[in-house]
Amino acid sequence: MSDQVPLMELKRITKVYPGAGEPAHVLNNVDLRVSAGESLAIIGPSGCGKSTLLNIMGTLDGPTSGTVNFDGRNMLTLNDRERADFRNRSLGFVFQFHHLLPQCTALENVLVPTLVNRQTEHARARGTHLLDRVGLASRMHARPGELSGGECQRVAVARALINSPRLLLADEPTGSLSREGALDLTTLLLELNREEHITLVAVTHSLEVAEMMGSVLELKNGALIVRRGNAV
C-alpha cells in the first residue's frame, strides 16, 4: 500500500444487483487505493464484477454502499453535471469496443471529448500529436470503416487522452484484438502511462496483458486479492 495520498480511493464498496431470486452481491466491501502514475490490472473471471468496479471508479455507476474518493474528493456527492465534468477533465476511458463515431474521421473522433468544452486549436494540435503518438499519423483523416480493429482501438486510446486525464480506465481494451494487437496496445498504454504520467487501471481477463502492468489485483467472490504489486 502506498504512503502517498492516493489518486483514487474506494472504501468498503458494495454493489448489489436486485434480481428475481436472491440479490447478486457483486462487490463486497471492496477497498482500493490507486496512486498517481501507477499502472494496475484487475483480473478475474467473466461476470465477477470487474467492469462494475471500473464503472464505479469512472462514476458511470454508483455503489450500493461505500465511498469513492478522487484526489481526496468524494465523488458520490457530485451531481450529474459535476460527475460529467469530472469524467471529461480527469478521466479517460478505453473500452473493449472502440465506439468510434462512424461518420467522423479518426482525428475528429479523437476531438469529440473536446466538444464538451468547445474545441480549440490547441486541442486539434494535441489530437494530431496523439494520433501521431499512437502510430496513426497517416490515417488521421480515415473514417472508422476504413481502419482495422487495432487502429480503431488506438484511435479510442488517443480519444481517451485528448483532455490529458489523470486516470485512464480501460475495460478489456484488448478484448477484441489479436494477441499481437493486444500486446502492442498494452505496450502503447504503458508507454503513455509513463510519458503522460497518467494513472492506468485496466480490467482484463488476459494474464499476459496483466503481467505487463505494475500491479495486478484479482476480483474474486466480490473481493479484491493482490496478485502482484502494492495496490489495495
Binding site: S51, N55, G58, L60, D61, D80, R81, A84, D85, F86, R87, N88, R89, L91, G92, F93, F95, Q96, F97, H99, L101, P102, Q103, C104, T105, E108, L111, V112, P113, L115, V116, Q119, H141, G145, R159, A160, N163, D171, E172
Partner: protein, 1086 residues
Amino acid sequence: MLGLVARSLRHYWRMHLALLLGTALATAVLTGALLVGDSVDYSLASFAKMRLGQIRFAVDMRGQFYRDTLAERLETRSGANAEAVLRLPGIAIAQSAESGDAAQVNQVNVLGVDSAFWKFSEGISLELAENEVAINEKLASQLGIETGGELALRIVKPALLARDAPLSQSEDDTTARARCTVKRVVADTELGRFSLTPSQIPPYNAFVSRTWLQKLAAQEGRSNVLLIGDGAAGTQLEKALRDSWEPEDIGLEFLTHKSGVVQLQTNRIFFDPEASRAALEIPGAQGILTYLLNSISCGDQRTPYSFAIAGPAPPGMRDDEIVINRWVADQLGARSGDRIEMAYYQLTASNAYVEQTRAFTVHSVVEMNALATEKELVPSFPGLSDVESCADWEIGMPLDEDLLKDKANEAYWKEYRQTPKAIVTLKAGQELWANRFGNLTAVRYPGDAARVDELREALRNGMDPARAGLYLAPVQERAQDAVSNAMDFGGLFLGLSFFLIVAALLLTGLLHVFGLQQRAREMGTLGALGFRQSRIRVLFAVETFIVSVCGACLGVAAGSFYCQALIYGLGRFWQGAIAGAAIAYHGGAITLLVGGLVSLACAMITLVLGIWRQSKRSARELLHLDFTQEPAFREAKQTRFRLGFLPWLGLAAAAGLVTLSLLQKGGDTSLAFFAAGALLLASMLGLFKRILRAITSMGQTPLSLARLSCENLARRSGRSLAVTGLLSCGTFLLFSVSSMHVDLRAHARDRDSGTGGFALIAESTFPLIENPATTLNEADVSGVALRVRDGDDASCLNLNQAQNPRLIGVNPKDMIARGAFAPEAQGKALWQLLERPLDGGAVPALVGDADTAMWTLKKNADPVTGDRIEYRDEFGNPVLVQLVGTLPMRLSVFQGSLLVSSDAFTRLYPSEEGFRRFLIDAPDEKMAEVQSRLRGNYERFGLEALPTVQRLEDFYAVESTYLAMFLVLGGLGLAVGSLGMGVVVLRNLFERRGEVALLRAIGFERGHIYELLFIEYGTLLAAGLGIGAVASAVSILPTLMAAGTGVSAGSILSILLLVLVAGGGLTTAAVLGGVRMNDPGALRSE
C-alpha cells in the same frame, strides 16, 4: 421449418405484435372506409325503397292532367296495381304544439290519394275523409304537430293551360286553402318519404283524399300522377296503356255540329304537337286556330278586341287575304280589295306580350248568318266565353280597359259573342299566332255523330300516348340506377383516409425493417448453415404472412368499429357531407373480405420488400452488418448518378407550371398550382436526400455538436428521408387542403362570382306570373325571373346520381345585360351559347357550376363536344339536352341545375307556368327590408327569399365538411407519421446506445446529448415542416393571390401546432426515453 417459424413468432413476439398492430391499423382504416361506402349505398337503397315502396312505374304528367278512370282501365288490362294520384305543390301552416308559434312550411307535396295508394306500402291501411290529412314524419317534425293536430293547407289551383298562355283565364286568387286534422303521421317506412325524385332528403308530404283535393283544386276526376306496382313487365304495361287510354283522358273531345262538322278540341285551348300531328293526319282534317286580335283597322276606322279564325278560308284565298264579316265591314267601311290591318299580341319567351301588326287585303265579306257554325264551334275560353260583358273578360293578356268598354264592340259581344270577325288561311294564322302552347285550337272533320267513334279510334291509333304525356317511367329501375351510381363514399373515405393508410403502412414497414435488421445475424447464420436465399426469404415471409393475416383479421374487426365511428361522426359532426341523411351501418361480407385482402396484400408487399432487400446480402455481410451506417451506399451512388437530375427537373417543371398558370387569364388554375406544389415537394425531398448525402463530405468544417448531428442524419439518410417525407407530405396535404376553405362572402357582390352579384335569391312554392322584384316599386331593386322544371337535384346535397337534373329557364339577354355569372369578356359569348342551334335539334344547356359538371354529373360540357342528356319534354318526347358550357366558377347559386334559354324551356315545357325562382338586385342596406317585404307580399305563394351568399354557403357546407373530415383523418395520418418518427428515433437511439453511453462516459452531460439529438431530430422535423409548408405555399398561391381569401391563419397555426405537438412531442419522448435507457452496460455489449 414450421417449428422454426413458430419459435421465431414466439421469441420475437414484441416485434410481431408491433407488425400486427400496424397491419391492423392500415386494414381497419381501409376496411372502415370501404364499409362507409357500403353503409351509404345500403342506406340510399333503403331510402329508395321507402320512397317508392312497391311502385315500379309512374306516369308523371306534372302540369297536365288525365282522367282518373285511366288507372282503373290500365289495372284491368295489365293486372298490375295502378293508382291515380293528384300531386300539387302546397304550403302547410300549423300552430306548434310546443311553442304555440305558427309554423309555415313551403314546398310541401300535397298528394291526393285514395286508400288503394297504401297498397304500395306494407302494413298500413288508411282511409282519408275530407279535411283529414296524413303527414310524413319530416313535415310533422317541422310543424311540431302530432296526430290529432290541426293544420292549414294551401294549394295552387292548377289551370288546364298555363296561366301565362294567351287566352288562359286570369284569376286574382289561384290558390285554395283548407283546414285539416292530422289523422296519422305516416312513418318513412309507410311511404312517408314518397317521391319520384331520387334523393336521400325526405320531402314534406301531406296526403289527403284525392277526391277532396280534386274538388279543392277544381280538377274533379283528374289526376297528374299514375303509379303502377308489380304485376306486369314494362313492355306489357306499355301495351296495356296503349290499349286502354282514350283521347278524352288527356282532355281531347269531339263535338258534333248540325252543319255536318265534327270538331276535335282540347280543354287546354291549344293542341299539343302529338295530338296536332295525329289529328291532322286523319283524312278530311281541317286545322283551326282561333286568336284574339287587339284591333282590326281600315284607314282611321278601328274595332277593338276581335276574334279571328285561321283555317276555314274560302278555297283559293291567298295567305295575304282576309275575309271579314259584315259587321266589321260596316264598322270599318271596308270592302273587298281594301287593305286592312290587324294588331295582335305575340307572346315572347319572357312572357311579355308584344303587339304586332299585319296588313291583309280584304278577300270578301261574309254575312253574319253564314258564321253561325263558327260562333257555335269557337272553343270555350274560361274567363271569357262565360261572361256577359267585354269589361268582365279575365284572360291572360293585357287588355285596355277603355277599349274594352267600346260600345259597338260591347254590342257585338252581346249579340255574336265569340263569332270571328275575320278569317285568314291556316298558314297565315299560324305564322302570326302560333305560340309555345300550340298552333291549333281545333281540328274539324266532315261528318256527323256517327263518325265520332271512327274518328276517336283513328286518333287513338294515330297517337303515341307516351308522346302525349302518358310516358311510363321505370321509376324503381331508375332509383336503383341512381343508388348504384351514387356518390362513392367508399372511394371518398378511401381518398380522405389515404394518407392515414399510407402512414400506417409506412410505420408497419419501418417496424418490420427494424425487426429484420435486428435479425440480420440470424439471416446470416441461416445462410452460413446452408439455407438457400429463397428458403430464408420464404421462412421470413411465412412468419410475416401469419402475423399479417392475424393483423388483417383484427383490422377487419376494428374496421367495422372504425366505420361505425365514422358514421357516428357523419351523423354528429359531419352532417353536411350527407346533407343530414341518417346513414345506417351495413357491413357487407364481400367488402370486409376485400378490405382485409387488399390490406393484407399492401402489408405483404411492404414487408416482403424489406425481407427481399435484406436477404439479398451474403451471409458474411449479414453477419457483420452495421445498421448504424447507410447500407447501400454504393448502389445509391449509382442511382444518384443516373437520376440526380430528377429533383432539378421537378423544380423546373413546377416553375413552368406556376409561370404558365400565372400567364393564363381566367379559368381555374388551382389544380395546376396544386400539381406544381406536389412537384416542388417531391423535388425538395429529392434535394434534401442529396443534401443528406452531401453532409458526409463536410469533413472540412470544424467539428461541432451541430455537425455531429447533421452527420448522424446522413448516416441513415433513408430513415431520415422517410421521416421527413412523411411529415412533409402530411404538412403539405393538410396545409393545402385547409387553404381550400373559401370565404364566400369576400366576393359575394361581384357580378362574376357564384352569386352573379345578386343580393337575394327567392323561391316560391307556387309559380308567379310577375317578377316580385318589380312589384316593390323601388328604383334600385330589380330582379331576374327564372322558370323551373323540377328534376333531380344534381347538387352535392344529393348523394344519389342525378339523371335528369333540374332545368332552369333563363333569358340570356338578362344575364348579358347585367354581366352576371361570368367575367365581362366571356359573359356574352357564354350566355349566347344557350341560343346556339345544335345538330339534331338538341337543346343547349349550361351546367350550373363547375363542381356540378365535374363531380355530380361527371359530364363534359363543351360547345362542340359536350355530353348530351336525354330528357322528356312535357309530352313525353325524348329531347337531347347538350351541355355546351359551365358557369365559370366552382360554386354558384345554380349548383345542381342546368340552365337553358327561356325560349327553349317554354318550348319544351309550355305548361310550366310562370316563374318560381328569382334573383334580386338590391343595395346591401336594403337587403333585409326587401327580403322581409318579399316574404310578406308573397307569403301565400310560399316565397322564401334569402341572401344569395347564404345559398352558396348551404352548398359549400358539403365541401367544407369534406375538408373538415380530411383534416381530421389527415391529422390522424400525421399523428401516425409522427409515431413513425418516434419509432425511428427510438430505433436509432437503440442502435446508437453504445455511442450515447460513450459520450456520457467521456463527459458529455445529458444536456449535451439532448442538444445533439434535438438538433438532429429537430432538423428532420423542421425539414419536414418546411418542405411541406413551402410546397403547400405554392399550391395555395391562387387562394393567396385572390383578395379576401379564405386562408385562415388560425387553421394554419393549428396545423403547425399539430405537427409540432405530434412530431415534436413524440420525438422528445423518444429522445428522453432513449437516452435514459442507455446505460454504461451498453459500452460492453455490442
